[in-house]
Symmetry: C2
Subunit: 132 residues, 2 copies
């Protein structure tokens, strides 16, 4: 039972990562996120700076909402958009993991190099001693 | 001249971000990156764990190469793949910027709340003094 739950959780984490990375792969959507991370705003305010139809911007907003990066709530007649920064945590965590692997490899290589250098130094000392 | 260069640089940075985020938006491609960040490997080694044709994996590898996340070099007859971790720096930087905006907003809200609280406290002291 626990294993099935864990597998489900891993599958939905994978789907979330897919959706967030895909949402971030567009300059208009990244600009919307930058705008909203400074201040929540109405859909029309978000659309204003872009040279495209409100409909086109709305499509981008729907992609952002589906990915969980942007949230919508109502304030009277207005639809207010805001960024859910926690949605970026998993993405951040994934990149961090890649960096960790990489750094472990660099550390391992450094250790090997240090050992080689030590062996070389003691080897040349041995040779010097032998030549006396 | 400098402005044109700056605009070109911004445009290519945008294109790089688009390409890297799109490359990361697929579980097979993320698994390939995880694999390569531990150790560089031949194309056939990378393809091995996946239940798909070598051709399908090769397509994913080409997307990763086009985005700059994966690099290829030849060692004799073998094509060796490795991860270019610097390709993730810009992506990391972008997420970091969003977090900064967000934290600035939280700090500003906290300041306002503190001010409000201070005003309230001194206000209630004034009232107490007035009621004596």
């Amino acid at each position: 039972m626990i294993e099935i739950e864990a597998r489900k959780e891993a599958a939905s984490r994978t789907a979330r990562l897919d959706a967030v990375f895909a949402a971030l792969a567009d300059p208009t959507r990244r600009a919307i996120i930058e705008r909203l991370s400074r201040r929540e705003a109405r859909v029309t305010e978000v659309a204003e700076p872009f040279h495209m139809s409100l409909n086109a911007v709305s499509k981008h907003i729907r992609v952002l909402e589906a990915s969980g990066v942007v949230e919508r709530h109502r304030k009277g007649r207005d639809h207010i958009l805001s960024v859910n920064t926690h949605s970026l945590d998993e993405v951040d965590g994934w990149i961090e993991r890649i960096r960790c692997y990489w750094e472990e490899r660099l550390d391992a290589m450094e250790r090997v190099l240090r050992e080689l250098k030590k062996d070389q130094t003691s080897g040349s000392k041995e040779r010097k001693r032998g030549s006396r």
